[in-house]
């Protein structure tokens, strides 16, 4: 464990004290992945586990923000300290974002026991910004006993909420038909509560019926203490809200608060922040290191495994004379090999044999002897046969700052 520098130690102390300015600043540090924020997140996580964290997700326009506002109001009324993390999409072009959830949360936002923070997704997949988990732990450690995470309108892949929330609520507005089809393979399976929103609209009952039907088709898991519930809610009419809150609270009682902390496999900081925080990090590192030791090219170039996880790998190397081209710069092939090593490990991490069938790379900056490079690969998509992986190659600078060197995308064919 690294030692916290003074500023961060002070901030951590402020957060634990419930100082709102310290909380706000800490969240920004997480969001920017500033040097030292990783260690601070670690020390805050040690104090987390008391809050009930509820993830709210659903297709765009499902009514997530409206429901969050209703939940916020109800919990404040019951005397809870409530923190909300609202995640909005970012522009793929400029990287900017308009964080507009405030528009609908004005009513309770001014309450002294409420803390509302928006994050932009910063291009992350999975419906969550990469700093989400650290932010949730921060709120938890600061004494908020109810935390709501509202995600970018979700589709099939936005299941990362599992690792962020103790209780997952999926909103399904009525009458979408195809919309339900589209999400049922993904997020419906992770729902603890399925809420049919806009219950004042016609066909809401029908949608609820379809969802119940769908749940009965699923294979029952006898170990599960909780059976997914389907409920009807209408936030503007405050109908079904009390029942929904009761269901969420009950789920928290049955499954326990802090369940999220036990699911390290989906640490959202994949591809950017740490991988090593997960409980089984050592197991993963050893597993991937064993593969690397059998890899002739990795041995030749001096590539070693830093961390790994399902669908993820981080490798590192220090550039020396062996890696140079005739112009005295680092050979593009060296960087490709590093990115490719991470890609190979990530794509083979699930056990099934995955063979690369295509890969591309960009080169942003020059690299010199002595530079420390890391490559982080993460899973972009994976079906039965085809997996797409992205790898970023970064140069480690002073204070652990990272400069992007290369972006790499690779596709694998998966043999069954």
């Amino acid at each position: 464990m690294e030692v916290l520098d003074l500023d961060h130690a002070g901030l951590v102390a402020g957060v634990l004290d419930g100082d709102r300015r310290a909380i706000a600043r800490m969240l920004t540090l997480f969001d920017d992945a500033s040097p030292g924020s990783r260690e601070a997140a670690g020390s805050l996580a040690a104090h987390a586990g008391r809050a009930l964290v509820v993830g709210i997700t659903g297709v765009p326009g499902a009514g997530k923000s409206t429901l969050v506002n209703a939940l916020l109001g109800a919990w404040l009324e019951r005397g809870h300290k409530v923190a909300i993390l609202a995640i909005d999409p970012s522009s793929p072009i400029s990287g900017g974002a308009v964080l507009g959830d405030r528009i609908r949360m004005g009513e309770h936002g001014s309450h002294p026991n409420a803390f509302i923070r928006s994050f932009s997704a910063r291009g992350e997949l999975g419906g969550l910004s990469r700093a989400t988990r650290a932010a949730v732990d921060c709120f938890d450690a600061a004494g908020f006993d109810r935390v709501i995470v509202e995600t970018v309108g979700a589709g099939q892949s936005e299941t990362a909420i599992t690792a962020m929330a103790d209780t997952r609520v999926v909103l399904c507005p009525p009458g979408l038909g195809d919309g339900i089809q589209a999400i049922k393979a993904g997020i419906l399976e992770i729902a603890d509560v399925l809420a049919v929103s806009k219950a004042d609209l016609p066909r809401a009952g029908e949608t609820a019926h379809e969802l119940r039907e769908m749940l009965t088709l699923r294979r029952a898991n006898p170990d599960q203490a909780w059976k997914t519930r389907v409920m009807l809610v209408s936030a503007p009419e405050m109908k079904g809200i009390a029942e929904l809150i009761e269901a969420v609270e009950e789920h928290g009682r049955v499954n326990g608060h802090g369940r999220r902390l036990k699911s390290p496999a989906l640490d959202i900081r994949q591809g950017h922040g740490t991988l090593e925080n997960s409980g089984d990090a050592d197991v993963w590192r050893e597993r991937l290191s064993a593969l690397t030791e059998r890899d002739g090219l990795c041995a030749t170039l001096g590539i070693s495994v830093v961390a790994g996880g399902p669908g993820r790998a981080e490798v590192a190397m220090t550039v020396d004379a062996r890696h140079m081209n005739f112009n005295g710069g680092c050979h593009g092939g060296t960087i490709f090999a590093l990115a490719d090593a991470a890609f190979g490990l990530a794509s083979n991490s699930h056990g099934a044999l995955a063979s690369g069938i295509d890969a591309h790379i960009t080169f942003q900056v020059g690299v010199r002897p002595g530079d420390r490079l890391i490559a982080r690969a993460y899973e972009y998509s994976r079906s039965k046969r085809i997996g797409v992986y992205r790898t970023e190659v970064l140069r480690i600078e002073k204070e652990n700052k990272e400069t992007p060197v290369s972006a790499f995308t690779g596709t694998v064919y998966i043999k069954q």
Partner: protein
């Protein structure tokens, strides 16, 4: 610190009773397109609400749009920000501000006043600079 090292966080809002929000929407969109993260609110915000929001969202710059004499309550906002310990947050005003009323705004701590005719590029460039200043101040003080 430059804007390259971080994403500026900007609050675009309106205080007072003026409901003309077309300008603030345009500026919010321009800031987004310039790569900033913009917290946008509808008009008619109260000063305590703006202060709480600025604190929780840890914004670097607050842009107040004023088209109907609401700039006259900006000094009250400045005092409230100071009281909340948000001295580092830079505040700019855009809209209709008569020349003879500018000094009292600047004296209260407003950094810049954007008058009609200012280009969006100019606005976003300056906001970005103020955001860098604010971040630097945050890095120095710790909060």
């Amino acid at each position: 610190m430059t804007a390259k090292d971080f994403r500026p966080r900007v609050l675009v809002t309106k205080i007072g009773l003026d409901g003309h929000d077309r300008g603030s929407r345009i500026v919010a969109a321009a800031c987004r397109d310039a790569g900033m993260e913009v917290v946008y609110t509808p008009p008619w915000q109260s000063i305590p609400a703006v202060v709480k929001l600025a604190l929780e969202e840890d914004v670097d710059v607050i842009g107040i749009s004023s088209l109907a004499t609401d700039h006259l309550i900006v000094p009250k906002l400045m005092a409230a920000l100071r009281e909340a310990g948000l001295d580092r947050v830079r505040v700019v005003v855009g809209g209709i501000v008569p020349d003879n009323e500018q000094p009292q705004l600047f004296q209260s701590g407003v950094r810049q006043i954007f008058h009609p005719g200012t280009t969006l590029d100019e606005i976003t460039t300056q906001i970005s600079t103020y955001a860098s200043e604010a971040r630097l101040a945050a890095a120095e003080t710790g909060v």
